[in-house]
C-alpha cells in the first residue's frame, strides 16, 4: 500500500530524512519509532503529500504522492500530532465537515459519523463543543475524523500523546481493530505502546532507518547480552561469585553490591540458567529474593541507539545500579508518563525492573540541544 524509495528531505542545510526506503503491505500495522527529531513527522508529512520530498519517490495505494496527490488524499486518513479540530464547532459538525470534504452524501456522512464516534467511544459526545473536550477526548475525535472517510491507509502521528493510561489502552485496542483491513502507520517515541500494537517496527534515527523488523527481530539483531538477575542473602560474596561462575553456560558474574541485606548479582549467560542458580541457592541455603532472566528490551536497545551507544560495548550502562531509578526519568521520552505506569496500563510485562531501563543520568547527554535535533525541531515540536 505504501512504498517509499530513497526518500530525502532537506530543510536548508539540514537533512531531516536521509535516503530511507521501506514498503508496507495491505493490512500491515507498522510503528515508526525514534526520538524527537528523528524524522518521523517529516516522513509522515511527505507520505500525505503535505510536504514535498527533496528527492525520492512515494507511492500510496499505487498513486504517486506528488503527481496524483488528490487520489492519494482520498485514500488516506491522516491524524497529525497537533490534532486539527475547530474548537468552536461541535463534534458532529466537525465530522460533517470532513464528510463534505470527502464528498460523502449527507446521509452517508451522518451514518459514518455515528459509526466512527461509537468506535472511538465518543458516541455520547456528538453535541459537545470541541473546545470543551479534554485532550484525550479530542485525540479520539481527531481519530474519528481521520477514520470517517474509511481510508485504506491510516497515518497516525503520535496518536496516544497526552492520553491517560486507560485511554491509551482503548486507543491501542482500537488501532488493533482497525488494522484488520487497513494499512496503519503510526509513530511514537514511547516504545512500550508501539511494541504492544505494532508487529513491525521501523526505527528512525537521525533521518535514517536504524532498524526494520518485528520486535523479536530487533532484539535479536541489536541485542547480544542476556543475564539472570539474582538477589539473595549470601554469607560470602566472593565465594558466591566463584560458585555461580562455575555453573554451566555462565560467562561471567558481576557483583552489584548490597541492596539492604541482600546482595545483587548479574549472571551473564546466553541461556536461561535460572534453574541452576535456584538449585545452587537452595543447596547453599541462600535466602533468595529475586531470580529472573533479563533479556535486553526493545526500549533499552532503542535508548542506546538514540544515544549513539552500541549495546554490546556498554553493558554497564544498561545494567546500571538501581539507586538512580526513582530520580532519573527516561529523558528521551520526556512526554511519557512514568514508565512504570505506562507498562502497567499497556499491559506490558513488567519483567524488567523499573530501574533497569532507566538510563544512568551521568551517561545521558542532554538530547534537546543536540546538533541533530535542532533543525528538525521546526516541524516535530509543534505546541
Amino acid at each position: 500500500m505504501i512504498s517509499v524509495s530513497h526518500l530525502v528531505r532537506r530543510f536548508g542545510p539540514f537533512t531531516a530524512v536521509d535516503d530511507i526506503s521501506f514498503s508496507l503491505e495491505r493490512g500491515e500495522v507498522v510503528g515508526f519509532l525514534g526520538p524527537n527529531g528523528a524524522g518521523k513527522t517529516t516522513t509522515m508529512r511527505m507520505l500525505t503529500g503535505f510536504l514535498p520530498a527533496s528527492r525520492g519517490k512515494i507511492e500510496v495505494a499505487g498513486f504517486d504522492v506528488l503527481e496524483r496527490s488528490l487520489e492519494v488524499r482520498r485514500k488516506l486518513g491522516y491524524l497529525p500530532e497537533a490534532v486539527p479540530l475547530y474548537r468552536e464547532h461541535r463534534v458532529e459538525e466537525m465530522l460533517a465537515f470532513q464528510a463534505r470534504l470527502h464528498g460523502l452524501s449527507r446521509a452517508d456522512g451522518k451514518r459514518r459519523a455515528d459509526e466512527v464516534l461509537a468506535r472511538v467511544g465518543m458516541g455520547d459526545r456528538k453535541r459537545s463543543l470541541i473546545g470543551k473536550l479534554s485532550k484525550g477526548q479530542r485525540q479520539r475525535v481527531g481519530l474519528a475524523v481521520a477514520l470517517l472517510p474509511d481510508p485504506e491507509v491510516l497515518i497516525l502521528d503520535e496518536p496516544t500523546s497526552g492520553l491517560d493510561p486507560l485511554q491509551r489502552i482503548e486507543v491501542r485496542n482500537l488501532i488493533r481493530e482497525l488494522a484488520a483491513n487497513r494499512t496503519v502507520l503510526l509513530s511514537s517515541h514511547i516504545l512500550p505502546e508501539i511494541e504492544a500494537v505494532c508487529p513491525r517496527l521501523i526505527v528512525l534515527h537521525k533521518g535514517r532507518i536504524a532498524a526494520d523488523g518485528t520486535s523479536d527481530d530487533l532484539v535479536r539483531e541489536l541485542g547480544r547480552e542476556t543475564f539472570v538477575a539474582f538477589e539473595a542473602v549470601v554469607p560470602d560474596a566472593a565465594e558466591a561469585v566463584r560458585l555461580l561462575s562455575t555453573l554451566p553456560g555462565v560467562d561471567r558474574v558481576r557483583d552489584n553490591g548490597l541492596v539492604g541485606i541482600h546482595r545483587s548479582f548479574e549472571i551473564v549467560s546466553n541461556d536461561d540458567v535460572r534453574e541452576d542458580v535456584g538449585a545452587l541457592a537452595a543447596a547453599k541455603g541462600w535466602a533468595a529474593r529475586e531470580l529472573s532472566w533479563q533479556r535486553p528490551t526493545l526500549e533499552q536497545l532503542f535508548a542506546r541507539l538514540a544515544l549513539g551507544l552500541d549495546p554490546a560495548d556498554a553493558p554497564d550502562a544498561v545494567a546500571a545500579p538501581a539507586p538512580a531509578a526513582s530520580v532519573a526519568q527516561p529523558t528521551f521520552a520526556e512526554h511519557a508518563l512514568p514508565t512504570l505506569d505506562a507498562n502497567l496500563a499497556l499491559g506490558v510485562p513488567a519483567e524488567p525492573k523499573p530501574g533497569s531501563y532507566n538510563l544512568n543520568p551521568f551517561v545521558t547527554p542532554p538530547p534537546a540541544e543536540g546538533g541533530a535535533d535542532d533543525g528538525d525541531g521546526v516541524c516535530e515540536d509543534r505546541p
Binding site: F50, L51, P52, R73, P80, A82, Y86, E88, Q98
Partner: protein, 247 residues
Amino acid sequence: MRSFLAIYRRELAGLFLAPLAWILLCVTLFYNGFFFLAALEQSGGNVNASLGYLHRGPLWYLVAFLPPLLTMRMISEETRSGLLEFLLTAPVSDTAVMIGKLAAATSFMAIAWSSVLVFGLVVQLLGATPDWGQLCMEWLGAVFVSGLFSAIGLICSALSGTPLLAAFLAILSNLVLFMVPTGARMARGVLHEPALWIADRIDVRAHFDGSFQTGALDSSHVLFFVVWTALGVFLAVRIVESRRWMG
C-alpha cells in the same frame, strides 16, 4: 466546487460562531447608521445623496480595517494549530481552500455592508424611495472592494506567524494601497510617469467611483476587482505552498 463549498460553509460558520463577528456587525451597523443619519440631516433629507455618501467615506475606513480582522486568523492561526495541515491533506486543492476562505470573508463583509440595503428599505418604508438600481450597484461594488481587501488580508495571514501581525500587516497594506494614487501624483522627476501608470491600474477608489458609485455596471471595473483579487488568491496559495517547500 463541492470542496470549495465545504470550505466556504465551514469558514463562514467559523466566522459567525465567534462572538467577534457579532460585535463587528453591531459596530458596523451603528457606524453606518451614524454617518447615514448625519448625511441625511446635512443634505436636508436627500436619501440618495446620503446613501451615496456612505460609499465615499465610511466604506473605505471599513474595508481598510474589517477584512484584516476577518482574515487574520484564517491562515496564520491554522498553520499553528495544524488545521491547515488537515485542510491541505484533505482531498481538496489548495486553491479551493483559499477561495473558500476568501469567499467566506467577503460574504461576511457583504452581510455587514448590506446595512445600506437595510437603510434603503427603512427609508422606503418611511416613504422616500431610494434609487434602488444605484444602491444595489453601490453595494455590489462594496462587495468587490471587500473581496480585494480580503485577498490582501489572506496574503498577510499567510505571510505572518500570528494573527496580530497579520492584521497589522494587512491594515498597513490597505492604507498603502489607498495612498499609492495620491503618492504617485506627488512623485517627481523620472518616477512621475511610471508611478502614475501603475497608480492608474491599481487605483481602487477610482474604479469604484467610476461605475459602482454612480450605479453603472462596467465590465472593466468588475474585471479590475476580479483580476486583482485573483492575483491575491494566487499569491496566497503560492506563499502557503512555498512555506511547505521551505519547511
